[in-house]
């Protein structure tokens, strides 16, 4: 069994980083550094997306019109903020549904090896309560 602090294999992460960014921006507008920090904290350090990976990803999502950016200096510091577009919300909903189904299929196939989804949900609820 993998330790809690072990990082996920990069091939496991492939294709899911977009979804992570979209999910974070669905909660509220963020700038690059905060997006990176939230991913790190939400995954307890198992996913660390380097800035060199994240900025090309953000620019790609912007080019796909799934997110949009704006410059804001109301905090006293000029900063580029990202937010989710309607197309981004739609894409997030589609992908989240696919992920749920995928996770259920994997749970079915890997009985005995797979930690039940229910316990993961319980853990998320506990994490939310403590924060």
């Amino acid at each position: 069994m993998a330790k809690k602090t072990d990082k996920f294999e990069s091939d496991l992460l492939r294709g899911s980083l977009d979804l992570m960014v979209l999910a974070i921006l669905d909660q509220e507008d963020q700038y690059g550094y905060l997006i990176q920090k939230q991913i790190r904290e939400a995954t307890e350090g198992k996913v660390t997306m380097g800035a060199g990976t994240m900025y090309p990803l953000l620019h790609r999502l912007e080019g796909d019109k799934l997110i949009r950016s704006r410059w804001d200096d109301s905090s006293g510091r000029k900063r580029k903020w990202y937010s989710l577009t309607a197309a981004g919300k739609k894409r997030l909903a589609q992908r989240a549904s696919q992920w749920n189904q995928y996770a259920e299929c994997m749970a079915q196939l890997m009985q005995g090896w797979f930690e039940p989804v229910a316990s993961a949900k319980k853990q998320i609820r506990l994490n939310k309560k403590t924060t």
Partner: protein
């Protein structure tokens, strides 16, 4: 701002490989610099000494060559896509302009084209004529949008809806790419509206799909509601307000032509209740200047000491301020929160705003004219 030579070197390496324009390059550097400074600050806060924090932060960015390659691929891809979309739009717009020009040109087409190119100031003249032709095409679409139609579709594919609109409005209809997922070839469109003004029918029916429309470059474009207020999607609207201005001058003759202080007066039409285009009712009474009420009068002049420079109130000013106060106040540049612009020249109201705000303004002007006349 922190300046770290190592990071500057790293940024220069990335910039050199990207070869972006100055503005784009500056934006990208500012974004990366901001990230770098936050990363260093957090590391220092957690107890790492600053030189080590700088090294760690740069390591976290990764190899400059790899980052530059990744960014270059993404930016090239975005640029190609943008060029393709712009190319398609331009091609469609030029096609429409050419078609409309052929039908509307006052002289025989051959002569008109020859004259335009043989003129000394040919390029400027041609540009003005092109603009005028596009404006005519936009005006034609907006006129056709006023007619009443049966807008009935049941689980129809988007192609059918576009064909219908294209035929009714005699123009090209485009769907913006940002609507992918909300309104695309997989969408099944339903609407059941009878004998309704086409503009309202389109707007109401598109609303559940988070979409609306604009008329731009002689084309009806279906766009996301989120993009509606973007300056790129705003268009020019000219509305004849000669009658309304005459009625305002008559009804407000006690105030028109009088000096007023812009900072102290609540500018707005007084005395009558008028239903606004947005559905609200306003009734703004004339107020005495706040300065006169609060400031102690100067004993010699009898005027307040802190009196500010005043200007003369005009019917145009009353009208434009009433509109920006009543119709979508957040959408105007004047109120500081939007991009919409408004001006009144020679009895013509000039708007640069979204299609829906312009439509609300037109409705409001009709109501206002009716209310003032009665």
């Amino acid at each position: 701002m922190l300046t770290h030579q190592e990071f500057e070197n790293w940024l220069t390496l990335v910039k050199d490989q990207l070869q972006l324009g100055e503005a784009r390059s500056r934006e990208l550097c500012e974004e990366l610099q901001d990230h770098f400074e936050l990363a260093v600050a957090e590391l220092v806060e957690s107890g790492v000494d600053e030189p080590s924090a700088v090294v760690l932060a740069i390591e976290e960015f990764g190899d400059a060559d790899v980052v530059a390659t990744n960014l270059r691929n993404v930016l090239n891809q975005n640029r190609k896509r943008w060029m393709m979309n712009t190319g398609k739009m331009t091609f469609a717009a030029v096609g429409v302009v050419c078609l409309v020009a052929m039908f509307l040109w006052p002289n025989p087409p051959g002569n008109g084209i020859r004259n335009a190119f043989s003129s000394d100031s040919s390029s400027a003249e041609l540009a003005l004529r092109d603009q005028s032709v596009t404006s005519k095409a936009n005006a034609n679409i907006r006129k056709l949008l006023q007619k009443k139609v049966d807008f009935q579709f049941h689980q129809a594919d988007i192609g059918r809806v576009i064909d219908f609109l294209s035929e009714e409005l005699q123009c090209n209809v485009l769907v913006d790419r940002a609507l992918e997922g909300d309104f695309d070839k997989e969408t099944l469109f339903s609407s059941n509206l009878n004998q309704m003004q086409l503009s309202n029918a389109i707007r109401l029916s598109l609303d559940p799909y988070n979409a609306t429309y604009i008329v731009q470059h002689g084309v009806l474009k279906i766009i996301s509601l989120d993009d509606e207020c973007s300056p790129y999607f705003q268009s020019r609207h000219l509305i004849d307000v000669g009658n309304v201005l005459g009625l305002i001058s008559e009804n407000e003759k006690s105030r028109i032509g009088q000096p007023f202080s812009r900072t102290e007066f609540g500018i707005g039409l007084s005395g009558k209740s008028v239903r606004g285009g947005g559905g609200g009712v306003f009734n703004i009474a004339a107020q005495p200047p706040l300065a006169q009420r609060l400031a102690p009068a100067n004993k010699k002049t009898g005027k307040p000491d802190n009196e500010e420079p005043t200007e003369i109130l005009t019917a145009e000013l009353l009208l434009t301020h009433t509109i920006t106060n009543i119709i979508e106040p957040d959408s105007w540049l004047r109120t500081g929160s939007g991009e919409g612009e408004i001006a009144c020249l020679g009895g013509i109201l000039i708007l640069n705003t979204s299609e829906s705000v312009a439509s609300d303004v037109k409705d409001f002007l009709l109501d206002l004219e009716h209310a003032l006349a009665n």
